[in-house]
Symmetry: C2
Subunit: 225 residues, 2 copies
């Protein structure tokens, strides 16, 4: 079986868990605290990037882009539609929004929230910086406005087909939602879309994740949030 | 002909120019100042992300990941080896290092330097913040140490084959070098590798780039820097 070095609330790890679940690829999960940068982890992933896929007899596959390409090339189902569209326009739109979510939303929101709430805690560096969290929340509102606007005229984030871009955004929002940092009252279309994502059977294992000493927000596992 | 919305010193734009040149794809270049976020640009690229490919009768392809996939799928040469390895291990290593360069190095170094030196100037917001530039330079030294170490045991960044990861790193270093922000004295292996990259015919057009009122550093166009 393939091993996945991951963290329960790392959004890139969540994206790969969801992609593998949708493709029917079984994973053995191995939790890492990336904020600690422990030597046995950085020996595999020098920049402490998650996730890492480790198969039998192959080199580790490090980082979200390498993992996505690896799974798509080795494990995409031949019989059903995959999550990476073949049509050039849909493909470009998927990559635009996947990049937006995994790098821009991450840099402006998720990475800060996780560093303040989990990173500092893991390293014993005290309490979160309230002003950093406030800035991240203001940025998140802007991002949600954009996705709300997109989803007002589309069924899925990238268009009329469900793609990896949906799972990338859902992965980020689910991590933030666990920590109680999503204002669902202000997100109409995005909330309806997230309710659909959350109801997928492949999402269920993520909704059962629990961090020790840090229970999820009340909306986290609720399908009628 | 395909149009590329780009900025001369934007590293992602440079990567796409290099990839297209290596694949023999002719581009019509159209310069944009992304830091100004002008409405006619954000109408095409809502997050003001560069580059954007615009072909005849197709939707714009926005952002580096979408552009890379588009060019690889539509324009990779059938007869010669492309820049995206087919071998799974080499493919994973390429994506790991491309991600490192385009997102991590960008977030920790290039984006700051360009914002301070070009963004503020474009918006008429005064002079660069010296402490931000100093932090970016300290980060760059760390990144160069890593690539130096990698290149001590490899011919190319990703291994024994030249890949897109080489062009991604060369694109970033060339932008920083234009602005005089690379300390080549401290970069042994990386310097030798960059000398090889710089000598490629596909690199020549980039070495002729000139920003109005901002000449390049003395090392920029020199092949024996």
């Amino acid at each position: 079986m393939i091993r996945l070095l991951h963290h329960q609330l790392d959004p890139a790890s969540r994206l790969i868990r969801l992609m593998c679940a949708e493709y029917g690829v079984a994973l053995e999960l191995d939790q890492v605290i990336p904020w600690k940068r422990e030597p046995q982890f950085t020996a595999v992933s020098p920049a402490a990037t998650l996730p890492v896929l480790i198969g039998a007899g192959t080199e580790p596959v490090v980082g979200p882009l390498a993992c996505i390409q690896h799974i798509e090339q080795q494990h995409a189902p031949a019989s059903v539609a995959g999550l990476v569209p073949g049509d050039p326009a849909a493909n470009a739109e998927m990559w635009r929004l996947l990049e937006w979510t995994m790098f821009k939303l991450n840099e402006e929101v998720t990475r800060y929230v996780l560093e303040e709430k989990l990173g500092k805690r893991a390293r014993g560096e005290g309490t979160p910086d309230v002003s950093a969290l406030r800035a991240a929340m203001a940025n998140l509102s802007e991002h949600l406005l954009y996705f709300d606007w997109l989803l007002a005229s589309r069924t899925w984030v990238g268009g009329e087909e469900m793609t990896l871009a949906d799972f990338a955004l859902a992965a980020h929002l689910s991590s933030l939602d666990y920590l109680g940092d999503v204002d669902w009252a202000g997100a109409g279309e995005a909330r309806d879309w997230y309710a659909r994502m959350k109801s997928r059977p492949t999402f269920r294992p993520l909704l059962s994740d629990r961090l020790v000493g840090m229970p999820p927000s009340s909306s986290y596992a609720d399908l009628d949030f």
